[in-house]
């Protein structure tokens, strides 16, 4: 499936970049949790919009909480970190220690703010790693938390559906304070945009060969 979008080398490069980004995220999160946070990406794939919609429905739980963040630059789109709704604040609780949270209901909104920071750290690290290594500027906007279901997820993430829109879908496992949690990372990438995403990857690969 990925052959439709990327060559094998390009795909491997992306896997590499995302893994470095996720590694950096783990370091940032460990600093906040004051304990080692291990993140790993057991699966990464590129999907067309239609395939992604099917994949979301097959793989994601019925109600989702997410943190999404728009990015602009040599490739543009929206990135999101997704959790099952029921477990979305677990990450916050585990990171903060249980004593801190759980006051009264109004605090739930503030916990979502904390969740949006955690998502923000993860997404920023992945995007900035890609941007720094490929040496191309990339802006990120402030993150938002949202609640949705797998059917409406694409509508939520994609402002304008285009044929050349591709979805990079990653499963991400968190292991911290002897508890495990897994979520998904979704990057919606507008592939048609001057073909600059693919050409940037190509140029980088070429520069590697030259050096």
């Amino acid at each position: 499936m990925m052959n439709n979008f990327l060559t094998e080398d390009e795909f491997d490069l992306m896997v590499e970049l995302v893994n470095i980004g996720v590694g950096k995220s783990a370091a940032s999160l460990s600093q906040i949790a004051q304990e080692e946070v291990v993140l790993c990406v057991p699966a990464l794939e590129f999907l067309s919009l239609d395939d992604a919609t099917t994949a979301f429905q097959e793989r994601l739980p019925n109600s989702l909480t997410g943190v999404s963040q728009e990015f602009l630059g040599f490739f543009s789109g929206k990135a999101a970190l997704l959790f099952p709704e029921s477990r979305s604040l677990d990450l916050v609780h585990v990171m903060l220690g249980d004593g801190e949270a759980l006051e009264i209901e109004v605090d739930a909104e503030l916990e979502e703010e904390a969740l949006s920071e955690l998502g923000n750290i993860l997404l920023n690290n992945c995007l900035s790693t890609i941007s720094n290594i490929l040496n191309k500027p990339l802006n990120t906007l402030l993150p938002n938390t949202f609640h949705t279901n797998p059917e409406q997820l694409t509508d939520h993430l994609i402002f304008q559906k285009k044929k050349d829109t591709i979805i990079m879908l990653l499963k991400i496992d968190f292991s911290l304070k002897s508890r495990d949690l897994s979520g998904h990372l979704v990057f919606v990438i507008d592939f048609s945009e001057n073909g600059s995403f693919k050409s940037t990857l190509d140029n980088y690969l070429k520069s590697l060969e030259e050096s």
């Binding site: 009264i104 503030l110 703010e113 920071e117 955690l118 995007l127 900035s128 802006n139």
Partner: protein, 439 residues
Amino acid sequence: MKDLISMDVLLSSFGGIEGGIIILNPKGYVLYVNEWILKKSIIDIKKYENKTLNEIFENNVNIQLLNAIDDAINSSLSRVISHKIHKDILPLRSFDSLKNGQPLNVSAFISPLKEKVGILIRIVDYSSLVKKEKQIKINETLLRIEKDYFIKSSDENIEMEDFIENFLDRAIKSIGFINIDFLLIKNDMTIKYTKEKKNKILIECEKLIRNKAFDNDILEKEIDTLSSNSNKKICVLYFSDKSIKGVLEFSKKDESIIDTVFEKTLSKIKSLIQGLIESKINYEKLNHIATHDNLTDLYNRSYLNEKFNSFKQKHSNGIIKNFTLFFVDLNKFKNLNDEFGHRYGDKVLIKIAQRIKNSVDSQNGAVFRIGGDEFVVMKEEDNSQNYVDNLKTRISSAFLCESNVVSITASIGSASFPSDGTNLDDLMHVADEKMYTEK
């Protein structure tokens, strides 16, 4: 930057947001800091232009915020820094409650502006928003309690003591962070609501109220002295019935509760309790007027039916076997009225009423004045000649009224439920006839 976007235009979009705004130029030097930040800053900020944030706040800026600013400068990354995760993002404090203010935990939103013209940092004090929301929730809860218990205050079957205990329990459970102890004193009764067995302050207050003969000024002063020696807040409640006073004692369950929230909440609880008890007192008064005879304070005729039904209920529940209605009519009372006047007659009636009332135990009997000199006694027992004789003796023993010796006799007829009838009219008829026969 000023050339690109006018500061006025930029700031106008934040008009509605309470909180801090800091704008940095593309290299990270401060261009603008709003009033909110200047007001809340622990460090006195005199000049801020062209300094870094860390210079202005004398190296008291959280490392996460500094890193986020670097990321915004170098990589145009936006960042949220949540107060839930990070403490002391900036050295700020609130000046709302205490002189020196409490440290303020804020969230920060860092976003690089378009075309790299600068970096916008928004500072939001969510804790004050949460405080406001919590206050709204507390108010809603108190309103619900108020509604429920105003309805209950009209229920004559709920005793004052149970009423108070019940709603204080609910108030404490729903507010959660406040302990409430309470004392209500009337001449002949004390209702005490406290979880401590020996609450010294309440014991002291009770003594004060009873000793100071309800002199409000002295009372307030002495109670002020009592509360100044403890971390508890004490206030006195006054009611339209001057013979009733209440004392409320509040304390925080947890010292971290902010003073303004505590004060606001307890002033609300105070007026709620005052209002509810006042309403209960008024309903009790109303109920008393509706069921009692004005002159003698015995039950009145309209209450006879209700009482009869409750006796009948006790009978059908098997609590009592039978009960008897005694019809008491004073002999030649009219002569007394004619000779000495109605006021004199009234005094005699009050005295006799007291004697009839003393002849029954209020647990198993009731006394009614149903007409001028006509009384009814309802008692949980079979028709007893002993009682009739005893009552007659009680009534007829001589007494002094305005220096005249009065001796008045009574004729009494009786009827028992169910042997003489099963409804009030029948029983009254039988007793009335027997009384006339005797006369």
